[in-house]
């Protein structure tokens, strides 16, 4: 049953094609981001500086990587609460192995393998034993945090020249601006994530499983591969984000990244991905990460808020984002 030559009706249909509604939330998030930046520039001097935007990437590279992994998981209808702890564990492994004199390459491999393994393990438990993702990954979260403490309860500095150079290096951009190598890594991860999710069969299956797991199963899709796969990817991304975080803070610490899983989840959802799965884009996650970063930038440019007003403002800004987005994407029909 191969496809015959295109009939006129088919070509007409292709031409009639218009971007479906599912791009709407992302569009809304991006529009909001632009709007908020406009507002910030009007209000605070120095806010409009392109370096401020670049710093959003510099300061949130790890969150972007984390968000990409989380996007896979959420799109497939799951959730991964372990990512924050895995970031902390990764910094601990990195710092302690480097302290023990391992070469950077070996450290990187060790961290990535550990994160990926943990992710796979959770995926296996979730798929084959039917344990709810929330619980399996919550256990993963405790486990990773516990392992951190076993390695050391104190923070460990990273003094390895290789990693230090990576951390403190800059990638100059025209106009005297710069980003860090971490940003490049994050953008590469982002691009790969977008490719896999939007342009490969694996990616399509992720959406299908998120839309309806039973349908995907009955359609003969490889549900097991996808369900275990997304947690593996998320584990890998968390480990990578952990490395970036280790570079960002040049240290390993058991208490790093407490609650970062919520940031990652929030970024993904603000970016328009449905928490129930099946709908969303990686680009949205980037918009979500940048939106969260912008809130922080906003507040630190203000500089007059006391601790509690900071928290309240974060909540209020978050609210404004989601409400506006919700209103923009409310079904027209």
């Amino acid at each position: 049953m191969s496809a015959p030559a295109l009939s006129p009706a088919v070509t007409a249909r292709i031409r009639r094609y218009s971007p479906p509604r599912r791009y709407l939330p992302v569009t809304a998030a991006v529009a909001l981001l632009i709007g908020i930046f406009g507002a910030g520039s009007l209000r605070y001097q120095g806010f409009a500086d392109p370096q401020v935007i670049l710093n959003l990437f510099v300061d949130n590279a790890f969150l972007l990587v984390l968000g990409v992994g989380m996007t896979f998981v959420i799109l497939a209808g799951g959730i991964d609460l372990s990512v924050g702890s895995v970031v902390a564990l990764s910094t601990m492994i990195a710092a302690s192995t480097l302290e023990a004199g391992w070469p950077v390459a070996a450290t990187v491999i060790a961290v990535l393998v550990a994160g990926t393994l943990l992710g796979t393990l959770m995926g296996l438990v979730i798929h084959y034993f039917d344990v709810q993702p929330f619980i399996a990954t919550l256990a993963g979260m405790f486990l990773a945090r516990g392992l951190c403490y076993l390695i050391s309860v104190e923070s460990i500095p990273i003094r390895d020249p290789g990693l230090t150079r990576f951390a403190q290096g800059t990638v100059p951009l025209p106009g005297g601006y710069h980003v860090t190598p971490s940003v490049v890594v994050a953008l590469v991860v982002f691009a790969i994530g977008a490719w896999v999710l939007h342009l490969t069969r694996f990616g399509r299956t992720v959406y299908a499983v998120g839309g309806s797991e039973s349908s995907a199963h009955l359609m003969g899709l490889r549900v097991a591969l996808v369900k275990v796969g997304v947690y593996t990817i998320s584990g890998l991304c968390s480990a990578l984000a952990g490395l970036l975080f280790a570079a960002y803070t040049l240290s390993g610490y058991s208490l790093h990244a407490v609650g970062m899983e919520l940031d990652a989840i929030a970024a993904v959802v603000i970016g328009g991905t449905l928490l129930t799965g099946g709908r969303g884009l990686v680009l949205g996650t980037m918009a979500g990460v940048l939106l969260l970063g912008t809130i922080q930038t906003f507040i630190s440019f203000d500089g007059t808020l006391s601790s509690w007003w900071t928290k309240i403002s974060i909540g209020v800004l978050l609210l404004i984002f989601v409400v506006i987005q919700r209103l923009l994407t409310r079904r027209q029909t």
């Binding site: 049953m1 496809a3 015959p4 295109l6 009939s7 009706a9 088919v10 249909r13 292709i14 009639r16 094609y17 479906p20 509604r21 599912r22 490719w195 342009l199 490969t200 069969r201 399509r204 299956t205 959406y207 299908a208 998120g210 839309g211 309806s212 039973s214 349908s215 995907a216 199963h217 009955l218 359609m219 003969g220 899709l221 490889r222 099946g278 709908r279 029909t333």
Partner: protein, 523 residues
């Protein structure tokens, strides 16, 4: 047991492509299949027949690896197989459309048809090729929809066709269609049959389940009949009459179908206040202004093709969607239906065409499902007393012959037809004055269908008004006092169901003025 018909001698010319022997499957409390044998030959269309709950879908799921088999063997092309999952059976060349449309409504039409087999270029999915391939499948089915549109935006009938499209795209040697025609209209069915015949010509073995006997006799070569999970027999289609087949299915004589009295159309007392009077009801993009009057005890049949706006009209009447313009008067008082609750308060009931998404509450029991609406209208503070509960549940399980007759059974474990009966009962329990039935007989076996039709007639005779929507024109005509014909989301005719109104006349009406299914007034 004496059979009216003798099974055909099992001298098949060609070796069967699928051979199942001694299949047994049990669910907690139900023996769904007992020692069933089944053969499917290459190049034949084989109908699997049986009442609701006879075990047809279970047999299909046993064959395709959805359920593990307790006992028995499955051989495909001579080699024994035990499929662990639908993916395995697909890999062995079996392509299946399951009864409850199993697609991902969050994805596009094209994606749904090609998931797992997307055309690729340089390792990436080739979007254009995908759309083209999907488009050509849609063309084969004569479906004029955008392959890039989201599946959720299409009514259930379109979704069913898309599911069939997906199965066609698989280059399979066995094609299984579990009630593919249940929500299709005559036109769509004809197109599907044409495709099926072509495939048969190419040597594909097709397993086909349908409750429409006419369709079965039109398309199938042989048939296998199941009853209560047991094999009754295997027959060449030509060798049995419809009546004999029905008796084989239900194990007794059928109360004849055409005993329903013809309704005199003229007995509507025009001077009385109508129960429901609708003026200019419309909704942007879905329905153009419709006027309608419904009197007590009247059955209004609505005829039309796929997407003609029948469901939309019903939803507006029920407040499931809100109308942009128009008014609804119930017994002379103006009502505004913002939510279904308003309509329920006005004693209007609505049984949706999309049983799975809008009807059943899968994880609740049959009893809870039965009483849901009654409970909702009583309010949470006044639970139905246990005794009343038990009485109502027992009464309606019996009245509608719901099987298994176990109030504590989970709704998700009922066969499709029995779920439909539960939903009907859910509404009848609330004693409505107007009952809107959108495709109530979809997926219902011939015995049950008769029961439901008789029920409608009886309810109408008792003074209940009914709006009856069905893809089966014969059914509409048999039951209604008035017939409303819709096309392109507008009412095009509204006339008493007298002798001049025939299936042919309605089809003509719909056809007049160009191709009905294509037109899209606000595209």
């Amino acid at each position: 047991m004496t059979q009216a018909i003798t099974p055909a001698p099992s001298t098949a010319l060609t070796p069967p492509v699928v051979e199942m022997r001694g299949i047994s499957i049990g669910f907690p409390g139900v023996k769904a299949l007992q020692q069933v044998d089944f053969r499917l030959l290459p190049g034949e269309i084989h109908a699997l027949m049986g009442e609701n709950g006879a075990g047809k879908s279970t047999l299909i799921k046993a064959l395709t690896g959805v359920y593990a088999i307790d006992e028995g063997t499955v051989a495909v092309a001579g080699a024994e197989h035990l499929f662990g999952s639908p993916a395995d059976s697909q890999a062995a060349g079996i392509s299946t459309v399951y009864q409850e449309v199993n697609l991902c409504t969050n994805l596009t039409v094209a994606e749904n048809m090609l998931l797992g087999r997307e055309p690729r270029r340089f390792g990436r999915i080739d979007g254009l090729a995908m759309k083209a391939r999907a488009g050509s499948i849609l063309d084969r089915l004569g479906l004029a929809i955008d392959p890039g549109s989201t599946l959720a935006d299409h009514p259930i009938a379109i979704q069913q066709l898309v599911a069939i499209g997906r199965a066609l795209d698989l280059d399979a040697r066995v094609l299984i269609l579990d009630e593919p025609t249940s929500s299709l209209d005559a036109d769509e069915v004809a197109k599907l049959f044409a495709v099926m015949r072509t495939l048969r010509g190419q040597g594909v073995a097709i397993l086909f389940v349908s409750h429409f006997l006419d369709q079965v006799f039109e398309i199938s070569d042989r048939m296998t009949v199941l009853r209560n999970g047991k094999l009754v027999g295997e027959y060449p289609t030509g060798s049995v009459s419809q009546l004999e087949l029905v008796e084989a299915m239900i194990g007794r004589e059928l109360e004849t179908l055409d005993k329903l009295e013809q309704h005199a159309a003229a007995d509507v007392p025009q001077d009385r206040v109508p129960l429901v009077k609708v003026l200019g009801l419309s909704r942007r993009g879905s329905l153009q202004a419709v006027d309608l009057e419904i009197y007590d005890g009247q059955v209004i049949g609505i005829a039309g093709l796929l997407g003609s706006g029948r469901t939309e009209l019903a939803r507006l009447l029920f407040g499931a969607d809100t109308a942009d313009t128009g008014s609804i008067d119930v017994r002379g008082t103006r009502r505004r239906f913002r939510t279904p609750r308003n309509a329920i308060g006005a004693r209007i009931a609505f049984s949706s065409e999309d049983r799975r998404a809008e009807g059943v509450v899968e994880d609740l029991t049959v009893a809870d499902n039965l009483l849901l609406t009654l409970q909702a209208s009583r309010g949470w503070l006044r639970p139905i007393p246990v005794r009343t509960r038990e009485r109502l549940v027992a009464e309606y399980i019996k009245a509608l012959d719901i099987r298994p007759p176990d109030p504590a059974a989970l709704m998700r474990n009922l066969s499709g037809g029995n779920q439909q009966k539960v939903l009907l009962a859910r509404w009848l329990i609330t004693e409505p004055e107007l009952l809107i039935l959108d495709e109530p007989t979809r997926g219902i076996d011939i015995g049950a269908k008769t029961q439901i039709q008789q029920l409608v007639a009886k309810l109408a005779a008792d003074g209940l008004s009914v709006v009856f929507i069905s893809a089966e024109l014969e059914e509409v005509l048999r039951l209604s006092h008035r017939v409303l014909v819709m096309r392109d989301r507008a009412k095009i005719a509204d006339r008493p169901n007298d002798d001049t109104v025939t299936v042919a006349a309605i089809l003509e009406l719909i056809a007049a003025g160009g191709p009905a299914a294509e037109g899209n007034p606000d595209a």
